[in-house]
């Protein structure tokens, strides 16, 4: 399997506080990697290091063989275009309609012209089940709808990989399903995905690889079968016992 992402010896500290240490892993094309672990374990920070929303770390991050960690400004922007990010808080642009949210970056960055971007945007909205919301403003949508638009917006850049940081944690329980099912569909279509989530049954179903992160380290890693059923790591078992209860 060809590696899209390679992380080597990543270490990140805020002053004295070391939040990531000794992080190395690879992500193959089409692979689904799920990060789980207790709050404060470094999952978000790790995800953010991958596209350098978080800077000033040591070690290296390669994306399709190119160094993200060492990239200059222009190059970094090119790399970021291929890594879609979905945030816990959606972060849709409130000054733009749903369709404008989706079209803005592809048009601005000349990935598509206006006409193609609109066509692609409407297709993506259809895929996330929101075709009729193209002209709505984000504030008028429910959380679940906003998050589906956010996924469509990231997909509009035709990314090679999608990073999700707790995409359902800010949602009312009844809206979690609609977002997870969009993500499941994306997974089936072969998208490479790195997902931070507390939705354990989703993790178990979708993950090719589960990384259990604790205190800034990858404390345990393996197939979902291994992590959820076979691992004898006491911290993994303790964490799972807590969240599955």
């Amino acid at each position: 399997m060809e590696n899209i992402i390679e992380v080597k010896n990543l270490r990140k500290a805020y002053g004295e506080n070391v939040v990531l240490e000794d992080i190395s892993f690879t992500v193959g094309r089409s692979e689904k990697v799920v990060l789980v672990g207790p709050s404060g374990g470094g999952k978000s920070t790790l995800l953010r290091c991958l596209n350098r929303l978080e800077d000033d770390y040591s070690g290296s991050v390669l994306f399709e063989g190119a160094s993200v960690s060492g990239a200059a400004k222009e190059e970094l922007r090119k790399l970021r275009q291929k890594m879609g990010v979905v945030f816990q808080q959606f972060n849709l642009f409130p000054n733009m309609s749903v369709l404008e949210n989706i079209m803005f970056a592809p048009v601005k960055l000349k990935i598509d012209n206006q006409i193609d971007a609109k066509k692609h945007g409407l297709e993506l909205l259809d895929q996330v089940g929101l075709a009729e919301k193209a002209d709505a403003y984000p504030q008028s949508l429910s959380g679940g709808q906003q998050q589906r638009v956010a996924i469509a917006r990231a997909l509009a850049m035709r990314p090679e990989v999608m990073l999700f940081d707790e995409p359902t944690s800010a949602l009312d329980p009844e809206m979690v399903g609609e977002v997870l099912s969009v993500m499941e569909k994306l997974a089936k279509e072969g998208m490479t995905m790195i997902i931070v989530t507390h939705e354990m049954s989703f993790a178990r179903d979708v993950a090719d690889k589960v990384m259990f992160m604790d205190k800034g380290r990858i404390a345990d890693v393996g197939t979902s079968e291994y992590i959820f059923h076979e691992s004898t790591n006491p911290r993994t078992k303790e964490f799972l016992a807590k969240v599955m209860a």
């Binding site: 409130p94 000054n95 990231a154 850049m157």
Partner: protein
């Protein structure tokens, strides 16, 4: 009758009102432009730029507007060769440096208003922008600033209103705006109270109209973000 003098002096009040409006408009325009430049400097990662911006803001906020106006006027008068053409009862070589001084004063306040607007936008907006591969400049210009401007409209309106009132300091450098006219007329009449009351009413009407206009603009801009609240 207390206000009989108006029959004779109303043209001077009209002229003064026009002068006040003009110096305020120039001051506001210049202040916004300067405020925009200063906030970009203030929020720059380059220490020199943000340092200059901080010093400028601190000086303007920490000294009387009257002294600023005089200092700027006498300094500019030395370096700029503005012809002393008559203009609404004053001369351009007073009106222009005076308006610039108002703008330099207002720029510090508008810069701070802009800054509060920009930092009121959640950092997630910037992160979403740059994660899409947009440059920081594009993110600022197309995503952050439009939201920030909308948030600060009320504060900007207040700044315009206080600038109109403070434009009376140009009296000290001989610009014949409303306050100067009222004082001049008061001197002639040996009674300052009636003309000052007239001046106060004129300021009140100007600021009231401006606040109505700002409300209208806010509503209009709000309509674009349909469904908010």
């Amino acid at each position: 009758m207390m206000f009989n003098f108006l029959e004779k002096y109303y043209p001077l009040f009209l002229q003064g009102t026009a002068q006040t409006i003009i110096i305020s408009l120039i001051g506001i325009a210049f202040g916004i432009l300067l405020g925009f430049i200063v906030v970009m400097m203030r929020m720059s990662r380059l220490k020199v730029l943000s340092g200059i911006a901080r010093v400028y803001i601190a000086i303007v906020r920490g000294t009387p507007a009257m002294i600023q106006v005089m200092l700027i006027y006498y300094t500019l008068a030395q370096f700029l060769d503005i012809p002393s053409i008559q203009f609404l009862g004053s001369t351009l070589d007073r009106v222009i440096p005076g308006s610039i001084a108002l703008g330099i004063n207002s720029g510090a306040y508008t810069a701070e208003i802009f800054r509060s607007g920009i930092i009121s936008i959640p950092v997630g907006q910037t992160e979403a922008g740059i994660s899409l591969g947009l440059s920081e400049q594009t993110t600022m210009k197309s995503i952050i600033l439009p939201q920030a401007v909308r948030n600060i409209l009320p504060a900007l309106g207040n700044e315009f209103i206080s600038l109109i009132k403070e434009s009376s300091v140009l009296f000290y450098i001989g610009v014949q705006e409303v306050t100067a006219q009222a004082l001049g007329i008061g001197g002639t009449l040996y009674n300052y109270v009636p003309p000052l009351i007239v001046a106060a009413v004129i300021y009140f009407i100007l600021t009231f109209l401006l606040s109505q206009l700002m409300e209208f603009i806010e509503k209009k801009m709000g309509a674009k973000y349909a469904h908010i609240n």
